[in-house]
């Protein structure tokens, strides 16, 4: 298993190298540059040229790329053109928000999706099945930002149950350690801060969970249906095992493999930032920051963030692959 992990991690190197080259060329081919975003309508052509020159953007692209690679080998991702702060710092301040939001959304999606998918399969053709299949279609179709506005209008503006934006009430004055607000609250025993951060996660978490939830319901249902028709389930039932044991040991477990794969992929996707949800809820994560950086042509931020996201994505999928062997002992990673 260790060899497997090492091999997968080594595979990262050529992947990142290729990705960086493609990304670098693609970004530089976008029309315009950061100088216009910096200067706005105040810029003269001379000022724009001076900034381009200072940033080294007037040099051949290979020389620029060489400089980037030299830095990256030292694990230095450079500084943001807009804020002049280190890209790594910018990332570490925002990524915890994205992780908290992703975990919340996935807990909701898995916590509701798997039982619902399972029950729908068991009660195939009945009302619950129709409701969950129909509901998941709606979940996939409904635009996330629209759902987000609706959730806010109902639960925040009208009922006032949940806060409508941000990650925490700024007047709480919580202590920051890891920038994972819930964790920080627990670590410092600022229980109110932890509870407030959790409270702030509910609405954006629900909005973001809508699509993964729908996908998980459908995959679980299909997978359970397939397993229910397998011979070994019939054998187990014929042996006189209780329904509970058959369900837990045989049906669910065998049905979980495709579900685990999709959970891995969905989690990886969410970790790369949820631009719309973050924007509507003014939630500080990497998604909205990345979107801003594209319009400002903040090349170092774009390169740095996307490279880190790629690593995270690979790691998440590695964990999913490893989890297969837990779910199904017949699968051995080599």
């Amino acid at each position: 298993m260790i060899r497997f992990i090492v091999r997968r991690l080594l595979q990262l190197i050529p992947t990142l190298f290729g990705l960086s080259l493609l990304l670098f060329i693609w970004l530089r081919r976008l029309p315009g540059g950061p100088e216009t975003a910096i200067l706005g309508e105040r810029g003269t052509p001379e000022m724009r040229a001076a900034i381009r020159h200072n940033l080294g953007l007037d040099e051949p692209i290979l020389i620029q790329y060489g400089r980037f690679i030299r830095r990256m080998i030292r694990l230095d991702l450079g500084t943001s053109i807009a804020t002049k702060r280190e890209v790594t710092t910018e990332f570490l301040q925002r990524f915890p928000g994205t992780v908290e939001l992703t975990v919340t959304a996935m807990v909701i999606a898995v916590g509701i999706g798997i039982p619902l998918g399972y029950l729908a399969a068991r009660r195939r053709g009945r009302l619950l099945d129709h409701l969950s299949v129909g509901g998941s279609l709606v979940g996939i179709c409904i635009p996330v930002f629209f759902l987000a506005y609706i959730l806010k209008a109902i639960f925040s503006e009208n009922l006032g149950w949940f806060p409508s934006s941000g990650r925490q009430d700024p007047t709480i004055g919580a202590t920051r350690i890891t920038n994972f607000f819930v964790l920080d609250g627990l670590m410092t025993r600022e229980w109110d801060a932890a509870a407030d951060a959790l409270w702030h996660l509910v609405l954006p978490g629900l909005a973001l969970a809508s699509i993964p939830l729908a996908i998980i319901v459908r995959i679980t249902r299909a997978s359970v249906l397939e397993v229910l028709n397998e011979d070994f389930v019939r054998t187990a039932e014929a042996k006189g095992l209780t329904e509970n044991v058959v369900r837990r040991r045989h049906v669910l477990r065998n049905a979980m493999l495709p579900v685990a794969t999709s959970i891995g992929l969905l989690t990886g996707g969410l970790l790369s930032g949820a631009v719309l949800t973050e924007t509507v809820f003014a939630f500080s994560g990497i998604g909205a920051f990345l979107a801003d950086s594209i319009s400002q042509r903040d090349y170092p931020v774009l390169m740095g963030f996307i490279m880190i996201i790629a690593v995270v994505y690979v790691l998440v999928n590695l964990i999913v692959d490893l989890s297969y062997s837990l779910i199904d002992p017949r699968v051995r990673v080599r």
Binding site: T44, N54, G56, K84, Q93, P163, A282, S284, D292
Partner: protein, 553 residues
Amino acid sequence: MRASRPKAAIAAVAAAALAVAGCAESDRGGSGGSSKDTLVFGVAGDPKVLDPSFASDGESLRVARQVFETLVRPEDGGTKVSPGLAESWEPDAAGTTWTFKLRSGVKFHDGTDFNAEAVCVNFNRWYNAKGLMQSPDVTAYWQDVMGGFAANEDDTLPPSLFKSCTATDATTVALAFTRVSSKIPAALMLPSFGIHSPKALQEYDASNVSGSADDIKYPVYAIEHPTGTGPFKFKSWDVPNKTLTLERNEDYWGEKAKLKSLIFKTISDENARKQELRSGGIQGYDLVGPADVEPLKNEGFNVLTRPAFNILYLAINQKGNPKLADLKVRQAIAHAINRQALVDSKLPPGAQVAVNFFPDTVEGWNGDVTKYEYDVDKAKALLAEAGASNLTLRFHYPTEVTRPYMPNPKDLFELLSADLQAAGIKIEAIPLKWSPDFLNATTSGNKHDLHFLGWTGDYGDGYNFIGTFFDRQKDEWGFNNPALFEKFKQADTTPDPAARVALYKELNADIMDFLPGVPISHSPPAIVFGKDVTGVKASPLTDERFSTAEFKS
């Protein structure tokens, strides 16, 4: 008995939570403020930097205006130069040395004294900037106003307007300039000229902009320790929570802030800001959408309309199409467009049709200039006279942008282009993304005939508007008018303010005769506060002071 797997997992999680709980110190001092002395204000973007010397974006400057003070500042709710850290000021006979009489008894947030020496430390810090601090994106406003530095490291930088600073005594400081300029003293109101504590500047190595040209790093002062004399002190910048907290300066020399804390919270989406105000999470926000002004007013919120301090204009590039060099064609364009209809239907309440290229809140505005009323027949006749009845013009307009002077460029384009077509001018529409394509295309090269663009003034001097547009040959307009350029030079170097204002009036008349473009409108941007928040006065320069804000009891 062996615990089942789920039970073991729950036990493990609980153990981990217990291990984590209390393993770090809380550094929270007291509880958060009650809602009645803390105002949370929604802003559209994070500030970029907290040292205003390096700032040029609105959100950084908004914070700086509460924390720092300048020698002179705009009058409350207006643009006129009025006392700030200096109680009075006067130029010498030549108009190149300005003597400022400073307030006494003012202290910086770190407890040190504000005096003439401190002013000189600040000006010398900017003037003697070296290395990366000379980058155009680091000291943008210094370069905009003063040009260059003591020793320019880049040949393209102009010589510095600033020459020296002399502290005559503790409360008298003399700033010497290399020539007379219309920018002094008005430009010294810019927050970028806020005065910092010399002790803090030194302690936190504030001038140490490090790294390399393509990898600039600000010193820690600019991010964590801004130290001025203003009514609010910097408390914390919580980037992960997109909030910045200021607290009342209890030792402020003037009337102390009514709020105990002031929190700026970034909510980039306009609709989300509105929802948050309604749900009570914030008690005010800026950049109110024009369509929201009336509904919010009706709901009882305090919507303040800033006096308009901007201009939207239709630019005509005389090098783009040779026909545009003919005054008659430009006059025809001016007559062809129905500016009143545009203002009434597409701009926020309170917007006005522009008569000059600057609003009437700026001295030198001239109502007695050539006006071009909406008259399609006259436009057609002028085009025929000029032999340009079959004119086709490339009309650039920006997409994906909202500016205070231009809420919805596409709507404006559609109206203007329909007007021009009604007068017989064929329009080739060229929509471009605002940044960078539109700005690049319209301010350089020769591919543009018509476009619209605008400007929001930095400070209350007319040169900041018309000088920026017309004081030299520019690709945006494509004309060379030496007589006009000469008059601008004369206005810029006239020491007597009254004489300068007279020249601005003449220039406004000259410009409207020459008609390099058509001034369209001035739009008043709005800012909104909660139903129970009072005391803030809207400023045309967006220089709102939160120190006077309070909650009605």
